[in-house]
């Protein structure tokens, strides 16, 4: 069928902020879709609240709205733009849910907007558990015994009938939020209660647990002419029971015979035909390892995380083709973009093995429950490609950047056999490494199979790896042995360890012996057809297919897996850098290991190497490509961390030099530099013992900010208010020693300011200054940032411009830099300088229309800012106010304290923009998923130091008609100040306690600054978690509370009586 000519304008809904369960894959899908629609000549209007995405670049769509994805705002845009059609299936669950909400509101009908692609009826059939089960029964396809329940009684009745274990799946939630496996009444009570709360339709599916079966996925596509194909099938190494987003996955399936493969293929195609899917779809199946019995687990009637993985695993661009199918094109009339010579209507053939390993945030959240189940917890993932399974999984392991380069645990010697068994039986983030250790201790694969249900095929392969360690150890620097090890994916670091040598020595020895990898192409067709796609992976084989061109090249290092502190913002900058390099006339080469991203779309760069970002893997590519240099400043800490090793090996680091990077990041050198430049920083010193820390603390005065010097990213950083707290911190949180000093800095209360700038070494451009809502002490990534600053004097702004310019020049920055300042008692101090791309680069680039990463890249390549026509100094602000609001995924992570502090906790961000700060904040908060009510109750429990400040906040809440609930201490303070307040009991008290208030939904907002600390036992912790689990916004900073109050005030009217006047006499 030809493409549709009766529609001209199409609205695409994005997926909003990055949260657990919905990450960068939708930026990739959305970007592809928008470009594909534009390519076909349609006018594309995009709405997405996430400014950190490529898709919200104005080049990607004809009109871009960075607005909240809510009924209110999308409806407004629909009315304004009057599109002919809407494409909802490329924005994840968010986009899909929004489309359903729009449809139900009647606006689509009113404005005559058609839904393209898969019809809503099909979406309902796939997503609504009841309808789905009915359809499966009609098709005679098996689903596990299940029942839809709406309350706990129904759940208990089901369990009486079926027995434990059962799985709880809340309807219409992403990433399985609120669900889980229950083995007993207690777990059932907890999980069902929270599941019902999370389901927007208060509905859960209870189903018989089929944990232990093989979990197989098919990524399928269908067009309007009923052509249907399988793009890729995948096998989860972790059997059914662990969310597929949290499973280690291989593609293609490894243990299925052709009969099993075709049986499940037939089922998948039958289902998408019955659903009349038009576009991409994901079918998850469970297969009994001992028979041909199978079950359908679920169907996602849209582009998903798995389809991004399948696209990168095969080269087949699912989202792009799904978008074209939505406008009527059929698979048989579209070309396969990879070969350019064959058609899209075919099934990719792989000649390699792909492994995906999720990346979990447990390094940041040490108190979180690390066990894995049906609710996804990973923030991101890595993918690796190899010609053997061993190579593929070991490459994936070292792509994770969790400190592992092999199937090895740190401190394994200290672990008991019982502990190893426990951690293999109960799936967790480190199970793979525990299995490695178990095998090393001689546990048989049959036993591990019994513990984990993982297929013997995979366990055999893992055993191959572990067994080969012994061969290696016995044969140092033997060519044949080393060759086999490299073909099994062993890292040089592992060889060095086994050979008592150094990584670099091993690397050089291999090079001398010509034991180096070749690069093979990912071409969708196993070399059957010639293709020119520049998408490569490294492997130890004979023939190299990646040929260096005559054009001078520049390598850009990507940022690896999405994790807390290193999100999609860095991919954004990476992609812009690649574009700038191409524009500057060089060949742009990218190395990255993250399958979710735009940067690993092969059409972005001139050459894509899908490889781990380790020194070994990067150096081999450098050796082959002989680039002009390597750009490290856009790939976050991942790339920066490689800079020193690259330089050691003689590679040119483009942009800010290694010495200058170090001057900004090394504390002593930085202090020295600041001294030279003449810019003040908060007083601070280094302590090598607890005693010394206390002396320093007393000397510089409390509160102080303490942190170990050897950990990056704000981990284990704390603000302490007195000597006792400091002593406690020194005793329990860190181990200070001369090798591991602890930094003690004066904590300055004041306004935190963030500045991003671009420098060519001589000239500095400052696109913008941002003011944080939360005072210094909250990690900048977790603060609400406001642009332009609302409370700064001209003098301060001038000073910030002056400092920033001097810092950029003084530190010899070439490229981007990000500076955090604090203004305390009228004085500006520098807190830190990051000589690289920052989290706020996309936010500022979009607001100011200054493509920062591009300009910086050109500066790095030698074009001065004036020669690029870039105005120097602070760029003028556009009209309006812009806020960046962080988004958290606390609901997914049990036992994590949500208190904001110096450690970053957010997973994503949204932007709110409007003409006033209040309106912008409203949009930002709403886009971040907070419900803002213009009336109701606020529950306040604040710590002693915050009580005075709390009074004014409480008073303002009262004056707009909010009711105040508070615990005894807070209530007393408020009453004393004459504020009406209802006292509620503390946890454990008789009668109604604050937990009841939260659980029963009697408070619309919780403000809690109580006892910080990570002990789950503390009351403050309980209150905060209870709020999260019950979906009540909980603010842990009075600054955020004040901001929200301003918003509510602006939405409503005062309820103040007339002043009492004396009677005239």
């Amino acid at each position: 069928m030809p493409k549709r000519h009766d529609i001209q304008t199409i609205l695409v809904i994005g997926s909003g902020p990055i949260v657990i369960g919905q990450a960068a894959e939708f930026d990739y899908a959305g970007t592809q879709a928008c470009l594909a629609l534009k390519e076909e000549g349609y006018r594309v209007i995009l709405i997405n609240s996430n400014p950190a995405t490529i898709m919200t670049d104005t080049e990607i769509a004809d009109k871009v709205y960075i607005e909240p994805i809510t009924l209110e705002f999308v409806s407004r845009i629909l009315r304004k733009e009057r599109p002919d059609a809407l494409l909802p299936t490329l924005g994840g669950q968010t986009g899909l849910n929004m489309a359903i909400e729009l449809d139900e509101s009647g606006i689509l009908k009113e404005l005559n907007v058609e839904i393209l692609g898969t019809k809503l009826e099909a979406i309902h059939k796939a997503e609504d558990r009841d309808l789905f089960r009915t359809l499966m029964n009609e098709l005679n396809e098996p689903v596990p015994e299940s029942d839809i329940i709406h309350n706990l009684q129904e759940a208990q009745a089901f369990v009486e009938r079926i027995g434990y274990p059962v799985i709880v799946r809340p309807a219409f939630t992403l990433g399985g939020t609120g669900g889980g496996i229950c083995h007993n009444d207690e777990e059932l009570l907890e999980t069902v209660t929270s599941g019902l709360k999370y389901s927007p339709v208060t509905q859960c599916l209870l189903e018989k647990s089929i944990a232990g079966l093989k979990e197989i996925e098919y990524e399928v596509m269908r067009d309007s002419n009923d052509n249907a194909i399988v793009v890729c099938n995948m096998e989860n190494i972790d059997p059914v029971g662990i969310h597929t987003g949290d499973s280690i996955v291989v593609a293609p399936s490894q243990t299925l015979s052709d009969r099993e493969y075709q049986m499940l293929r037939n089922v998948s195609l039958k289902i998408i035909r019955a659903l009349k899917i038009e576009g991409g779809c994901n079918v998850q199946l469970a297969l009994d390892p001992y028979s041909f019995n199978y079950y359908i687990i679920e169907v996602n009637p849209r582009v998903s995380r798995s389809s991004a993985l399948a696209s990168k695993a095969t080269g087949y661009p699912i989202a792009k083709l799904a978008a074209k199918i939505a406008v009527g094109l059929t698979l048989d009339e579209m070309m396969n973009p990879v070969t350019g010579k064959t058609y899209a209507c075919f099934e990719p053939a792989l000649d390699y093995v792909v492994t995906k390993i999720p990346r979990w945030p447990f390094d940041k959240f040490e108190s979180a429950k690390r066990n894995l189940g049906t609710q996804m917890k990973a923030t991101g993932e890595v993918m690796a490609i190899g010609r053997t399974f061993e190579e593929s999984i070991l490459k994936a392991v070292r792509s994770l950047e969790t400190g592992h380069i092999h199937l090895e645990l740190k401190n394994a010697d200290d672990m008991s056999n019982e502990w190893i068994e426990k951690r293999i039986r109960r799936a967790g983030d480190e199970r793979l490494f525990f299995i490695g250790e178990g095998l090393r201790r001689g546990v048989s694969i049959d036993t591990i199979h019994e513990w984990s249900q993982i297929d013997l095929f995979f366990l055999n392969k893992l055993q191959n790896i572990v067994k080969y360690e012994e061969v290696l150890a016995a044969n140092p620097f033997e060519y044949e042995v080393a060759r086999k090890a490299k073909r099994m994916g062993f890292a040089d670091g592992t060889l060095a360890e086994l050979w008592n040598s150094e990584e670099l020595v091993v690397y050089n020895w291999r090079k001398e012996n010509h034991l180096i990898p070749v690069y093979k192409m990912v071409d969708t067709c196993a070399a059957e057809f010639e293709s020119e796609t520049p998408y490569f992976y490294g492997t130890y084989e004979d023939e190299n297919e990646s040929i260096r061109t005559d054009k001078e090249s520049v390598i850009v290092l990507g940022s690896g897996p999405i994790r807390i502190g290193q999100g999609v913002e860095f991919d954004y900058a990476t992609v812009h850098s690649v574009w700038a390099i191409k524009e500057a006339g060089y060949e742009a080469i990218i190395i990255n290991s993250n399958p979710e991203t735009v940067s690993t779309d092969f059409s972005i760069s001139d050459k894509l190497y899908f490889e781990p970002l380790t020194i070994e893997d990067v150096m081999h590519i450098v050796d082959l490509e002989q680039p002009k240099g390597v750009v490290v400043q856009f790939g976050g800490q991942t790339a920066i961390n490689l800079a020193a090793k690259l330089q050691e090996r003689g590679v040119q680091i483009l942009g800010t030099s290694l010495e200058d990077l170090d001057r900004a990041e090394n504390r002593d050198k930085f202090e020295q530099a600041l001294h030279e430049i003449g810019i003040p920083q908060p007083m601070g010193k280094t302590a090598v013992s607890s005693e010394e820390a206390v002396v320093i603390g007393n000397e510089i005065g409390y509160p102080v900010l303490v942190r170990p010097s050897y950990v990056l990213g704000g981990r284990a950083m704390e603000i302490v208010y007195n000597q006792e707290e400091l002593a406690h911190y020194m005793e329990f949180a860190v181990q200070a020693s001369p090798e591991h000093p602890v930094l003690v800095d004066r904590y300055l209360t004041g306004t935190e300011i963030e500045v991003d700038a671009i420098s060519d070494g001589l000239n500095v451009c400052i696109p913008g200054i941002m003011e944080h809502i939360e005072r210094a002490g909250v990690h900048s990534g977790d603060s609400i940032a406001v642009y332009p600053p609302q409370n700064l004097s001209t003098e301060h702004i001038d000073q910030l411009i002056d400092y920033t310019t001097r810092l950029a020049k003084g530190l010899n920055i070439i490229g981007l830099l990000n500076i955090q300042y604090v203004i305390s008692k009228g004085k500006v101090y520098v807190i830190e300088v990051n000589p690289r791309s920052s989290r706020t680069v996309p936010f500022l680039s979009k607001i100011t229309n200054i493509p920062m990463a591009k300009i910086a890249t050109k500066a790095i390549l030698g074009q001065s800012l004036p020669s690029q026509g870039i105005p120097l100094g602070l760029a003028p602000s556009p009209r309006g106010v812009y806020v960046k609001v962080p988004v958290f995924s606390f609901a997914k992570l049990r036992r994590v304290d949500i208190t904001l502090g110096p450690e970053m906790k957010s997973t994503g961000e949204v932007m709110g923009k409007d003409m006033t700060l209040e309106k912008a904040l409203y949009k930002g908060l709403v886009a971040a998923g907070m419900q803002i009510q213009d009336h109701g109750s606020v529950l306040m429990t604040v710590s002693n130091k915050d009580k005075q400040e709390a009074i004014s906040i409480a008073r303002r809440f009262t004056s707009i008609g909010y009711h105040i609930l508070a615990t005894e201490g807070t209530a007393a303070t408020l009453k004393e100040a004459g504020i009406p307040v209802s006292t509620v009991g503390k946890i454990g008290e008789e009668g109604k306690t604050l937990l009841d208030v939260i659980q029963k939904g009697e408070a619309q907002l919780v403000i809690n600054t109580l006892t910080k600390g990570k002990q789950p036992a503390s009351d403050g912790f309980r209150i905060r978690r209870e709020s999260v689990e019950n979906g009540v916004p909980c603010l842990t900073s009075l600054d955020t509370a004040e901001a929200m109050l301003r918003v509510i005030e602006s939405m409503t009217f005062q309820a103040e009586e007339m002043p009492q006047q004396g009677v005239l006499t």
Partner: protein, 368 residues
């Protein structure tokens, strides 16, 4: 583990490890891109005389089971894999692929860069090659020279076809299945439809076939060049118009030759489980399983009574034919799948319908 080399007439030499039989072997080296189905592939008689390269690198993962053979005696000359699974894992697995190759005396080689080999075949076309005897040193130059001079036997069909007819009884339509190197899958599909099947040798005459009063003729797949079996072409010529015919693969090519068309050799053939075929009547595409080195020349069909019904989406080659006057249709691909997608399985139903319709027409004629 003994060493073994693969030497090609192009002069390329691949050194790997031997598995299966220790003997040397020579044949036409081809590749298949199917990611599953190695057991069906190795036992598909259409690969007679060929050494098959598996482009998917991990082969043998789910072992060898008693069910998935497409013939009793594999006819391939050898198999080339990147990695052979030592310990398969699947509930149906009986023995390993290595065990089977030893049992059936078939040589194999593992550990070579199969993608490089595939690219050579893609550039050069199907190529003659030798798998050396396991552990034996060999003079490469001599081997290449000899290889270039060698012509392989052209009697593959004779090698794999049944020597005498045998029945596979059912209560439905009587089908004569002419065995040019038949995959068991074809017989299975007919039996599933309750056909009363008689399998007959490739050199059976039309008279012999008609003498058992079939309702339809099934022309099977088979190895090699269709022009190497002139007796079959003649047989088919004499059947066209008398009785419904369904041809698959070699059967399709023979049918085209018997109807006045011509065939030619493809550069490196179509072998795999992902080949899109377009049905020109419905406009729909099916993903098919394919294994052929020759194809029907569409130009040659001008002036015949054959119409092209299906084409390969990618290279436009002829994938299906029908006779304009009489009930007969053929496809170049494998509707019986095994291995591969089962999208075209409905063609067997169409054959059954064709036999029904034909019986009705005959009935009407007789009673007219």
């Amino acid at each position: 583990m003994l060493k073994r080399s693969l030497i090609l007439e192009t002069g390329d030499v691949f050194n790997g490890t031997a598995f299966g039989s220790k003997k040397a072997s020579e044949g036409e080296v081809v590749f298949t891109t199917g990611m599953t189905g190695y057991q069906e592939t190795l036992s598909d008689p259409s690969y007679c005389g060929q050494i098959v390269t598996m482009t998917y690198p991990l082969i043998g993962n789910y072992g060898i089971n008693r069910d998935d053979f497409e013939s009793i005696e594999p006819a391939i000359k050898g198999m080339i894999v990147r990695e052979l699974a030592e310990t398969p894992s699947n509930f149906r697995s009986d023995i390993t692929l290595n065990d089977l190759f030893q049992l059936k005396n078939i040589p194999g080689i593992e550990g070579i860069d199969t993608r490089k080999l595939t690219r050579i075949i893609r550039e050069f076309g199907s190529v003659k090659g030798v798998l050396t005897a396991a552990g034996e040193e060999i003079k490469v130059e001599d081997t290449i020279r000899k290889l270039k001079e060698t012509t392989f036997p052209t009697n593959q069909v004779e090698q794999v076809s049944t020597k005498r007819p045998y029945p596979s009884p059912g209560r439905g339509k009587r089908v004569v299945l002419v065995d040019f190197g038949m995959k068991h899958g074809i017989l299975r599909e007919l039996n599933n439809r309750d056909c009363d099947v008689v399998v007959m040798p490739y050199n059976t005459t039309a008279e012999e076939i008609m003498a058992i009063y079939p309702d339809g003729i099934m022309l099977s797949n088979g190895p090699g060049d269709p022009k190497d079996v002139p007796e079959a072409i003649k047989m088919i010529e004499n059947l066209i118009g008398k009785i419904p015919i369904f041809g698959i693969c070699l059967g399709h090519q023979l049918f085209a030759l018997a109807s006045g068309g011509d065939t030619f050799k493809l550069k490196f053939g179509h072998r795999g489980a992902n080949h899109p075929v377009k049905d020109l009547e419905t406009g729909r595409v099916e993903i098919t399983s394919q294994n052929h080195g020759y194809a029907v020349d569409p130009e040659s069909l001008i002036g015949t009574r054959l119409q092209v019904t299906h084409t390969a989406l990618n290279d436009g080659t002829v994938e299906g034919l029908k006779h304009l006057d009489v009930p007969a249709f053929t496809v170049q691909y494998h509707p019986e799948a095994s291995p591969g997608p089962e999208d075209s399985n409905h063609l067997f139903d169409r054959f059954i319908e064709l036999m029904h319709d034909n019986a009705n027409v005959k009935g009407e004629k007789q009673h007219a």
